[in-house]
């Protein structure tokens, strides 16, 4: 079965500490991978797309095909990073129409 797992529902770190939000997927083939973020009282929005290989707001995401993981990382967390983060691998055979979201991790960055 095609599954997306974000093992941590809640993650709390102090400001300035490194943060890693985990995402594991089980798909045949090579999905494209996205991270979405939802800040308090804002809409769900794209944070980054792995194929772009960009760093957005200091976040990067590394695809590990061997471990089928796509963890989101930031070396120094800021209070404004507090939000809900969703990993969304997209099955390649279905195309990008069928986004598959994980259950999400709520990140809290404490001062």
């Amino acid at each position: 079965a095609q599954r997306v797992t974000q093992p941590e529902k809640l993650l709390s770190v102090f400001k300035g500490a490194p943060v890693e939000l985990k995402c594991n997927y089980s798909y045949s083939g090579s999905p494209e991978l996205f991270w979405y973020v939802q800040y308090s009282r804002q809409r769900l929005q794209l944070l980054l797309r792995h194929i772009s290989r960009e760093s957005i707001k200091g976040f990067t995401a590394d695809l590990n095909k061997g471990e089928t993981s796509f963890h989101l990382k930031k070396p120094f967390a800021q209070e404004e990073d507090s939000a809900m983060y969703y990993c969304a691998p997209t099955p390649p055979l279905l195309g990008y129409n069928d986004m598959r979201f994980g259950a999400g991790t709520r990140l809290t960055v404490k001062p």
Binding site: V4, K9, E32, R43, L44, Q45, L46, R49, Y86, A88, P92, L93, L94, G95, Y96, N97, D98, M99, R100, F101, G102, A103, G104
Partner: protein, 117 residues
Amino acid sequence: DAGVTQSPTHLIKTRGQHVTLRCSPISGHKSVSWYQQVLGQGPQFIFQYYEKEERGRGNFPDRFSARQFPNYSSELNVNALLLGDSALYLCASSIRTSGRNSYNEQFFGPGTRLTVL
């Protein structure tokens, strides 16, 4: 541009009733997708429409249906409501549909909170 808009913001229905949710995409966007987000879960894909045609369907029963109008706005209809249909329903628009090898960023609306009693 106000972005994707959805109406109503909140809705309470009883089991067995029917509901219609509405979505207006960003100006110039021709594709609309619908997602269901149950509390504590990520969004689940329901439908995608592009140029008034269904381009994708998730694993939802036939009680769920949708359509897109000539102005690219969209409606999601759910018949014979069940308690389990209680959720946040999200609409997302993109410039065009995404295929197997092309991606167009989706922009999400604020959602409609449906409660079924």
